[in-house]
Symmetry: C2
Subunit: 367 residues, 2 copies
């Protein structure tokens, strides 16, 4: 089929790309140039995008994204010293928490709206785990474990995505921050009750952080951010792990769960256990791993058992960096991460800068 020249091939020199990360702490936007590494500038819109009955609110996202993007573009144009940039936004990638299940409105409304408002020609709408992958691993095969309050593992052989866990604090997120904090508080309450498995050290920490143990249910259950409250206790578990065998056992169990999730999604190893040979890359990313050695040391051991030969790395880039990478790959016509209707949605291309411009078919996936 024939294509209008404006929409085909790689973007021209001087074109911009935008990466967006939408999560619980707000909307972060990064501006970059197609041919330069790294972001030129980033900005934060501190109000998290609303989720309504129809899913993530596309209008609310645009209300924050468009002024932020325009300001970044204006600043870049004013300070550009090399060959004058065109001002064109060749590609934009948005990673959002809940994109897979709550992203229907984004997928239906954003392509037209962003073409109209910013002249965006190429767009990617990604699950936040995919931008975490792109930030931490890039466009190579491998696996990422994104850990924070929750925990999800995502892997790809560049043919398809494999996901494990990330099911939230009541159905999984095993080994994540809320899981570790909850296990620590359980051990503290066991000590309070005189039940087996209790940790007096963790009970001391519970009292120091929350007050009397018997008052904790009354503090926790009325909150709407219960997983975050649980996760706030995870660093206390890590702090006790050096001297307290119960705390160390919790982190060992968490490490086991994280390794199980990584093993389920890592290419080469997916579905098999303890197979020798050349391993893939497993990148650890997110606030969970700021806990450091008390968690990472047992995790390296568990991964060595389940995925012998795998290279364990700590994240090269965050999800915002990943979104910018995806945008740059889209603009350059070499997106190698697998497209997917909800995980990594790349809609049909819009004519750049032409309001109501002709939509053309997206180019076939490059290998």
């Amino acid at each position: 089929m024939t294509r209008p020249p404006a929409a085909s091939g790689a973007a021209g020199p001087g074109a911009y790309v935008l990466g967006v990360d939408s999560g619980g702490s707000g909307l972060r936007v990064a501006l970059g140039r197609v041919e330069l590494p790294g972001p030129l500038a980033t900005t934060l819109c501190a109000e998290p995008v609303r989720t309504g009955p129809g899913g993530i609110d596309a209008g609310h996202l645009l209300d924050q994204l468009l002024p932020a993007a325009r300001e970044l573009l204006d600043r870049a144009a004013a300070s550009a010293t090399d060959d004058a940039p065109t001002g064109e936004v060749a590609a934009l990638a948005i990673g959002a928490a809940g994109m897979a299940t709550l992203g229907d409105r984004l997928r239906s409304e954003l392509p037209g709206a962003l073409a109209d408002a910013l002249g965006v020609r190429r767009l990617a709408l990604a699950a936040d785990a995919v931008t975490a992958y792109a930030g931490a691993v890039g466009q190579r095969p491998g696996a990422v474990v994104a850990g924070g309050t929750g925990m999800i593992a995502l892997g790809t052989d560049l043919m398809e995505w494999h996901r494990a866990d990330g099911w939230g604090h009541l159905l999984g997120d095993s080994g994540g921050g809320a899981w570790i904090g909850r296990a620590g508080l359980d051990a503290a309450m066991r000590a309070h009750d005189g039940r087996r498995g209790g940790s007096p050290a963790l009970l001391d920490r519970l009292r120091a952080v929350f007050g009397p143990a018997e008052a904790l249910p009354g503090l926790l259950y009325p909150r709407s951010d219960r997983p975050a409250v649980l996760a706030s206790f995870a660093p206390e578990v890590a702090a006790c792990a050096g001297a307290d065998p119960v705390a160390a056992g919790i982190l060992r169990q968490a490490a086991g769960h994280i390794a199980e999730a990584a093993a389920a999604v890592c290419p080469t190893f997916a579905g098999t256990e303890a197979e020798a040979g050349e391993g893939g890359e497993v990148a650890l990313t997110g606030g969970l791993f700021k806990m450091g050695e008390p968690l990472i040391a047992p995790l390296r051991e568990e991964l060595a058992q389940l995925l012998p030969g795998a290279r364990v790395t700590t994240a090269a880039g965050d999800p915002l960096t990943g979104a910018l990478r995806i945008a740059r790959a889209l603009a350059a016509g070499d997106l190698r991460l697998p497209r997917h209707p909800t995980m990594l949605f790349v809609p049909q291309e819009h004519g750049g800068g032409q309001r109501g411009g002709t939509a053309v078919r997206d180019e076939p996936r490059t290998g």
Copy 2:
């Protein structure tokens, strides 16, 4: 000190007692006679008593309790065939979920209000675990495990109460319905992801009950009754336990947790483990144990290990029966269960039937 004769000693023949059980499914009221065993009649007010910022709403409880009690008294008077009852309510006992932490308004408002409205002379306000104890064990030393969506163990040597767990689905309730259901759903999601520890049988049950696995988070998390949703899956775990080792392992672990809680509170054994000799009574009560042998068989084994010699019984009476028993013991002046400011609160006695009657000191605890 001297007492007005009306308030001293045991209640006269023909006097009534009332037992009340306030929980998530409403307010149940039982009417009995001091000198006769069992209830004469019971009734259910289906609207659960509201909990507000000040705790359990005393006015809302009275709005339901008073008409129900008057109707029971009228019916009893009309159908009485023996020596004419006096119509006097010698004692009333209320067991309520949340009484210990949310019962301040009940403790301050009910004694006067019930003396004024029903002429109640003696009142007990008990945690629902205490009425469960009274129903299942009576006034003997022992321990009760009350299991439903949650799980709590309560024991007494008749000197003081010992409580273990009952901390809710995020801090404990280990081995209860929500705990078992959650563990079952975790194993199902593991099978879905290809993680270690998964159960294809439980994944089949998840799909049969809730639909596609990946849609379950969207069904569960918006609900306000998440623990009940989790607990609704517990019978599926029990149904799979005969053929599925993962499901059987979950029930074995639940049995271990329940036995740990019982061991922490059972007199003779409290604080010690696996000591030979004459054991106390451990009564199992509540909907959890309707699961039957898949849970009770491993529980008997775990209890035999942690509390060798303990007699394990299934509940003789429910919490409503327990409330009526406490009321009858109060009326007869032989309440042997230990009083406690929040677990089993027995306020100063009000002059029977005298509006604004003189409050006198409660009699000393009988041994």
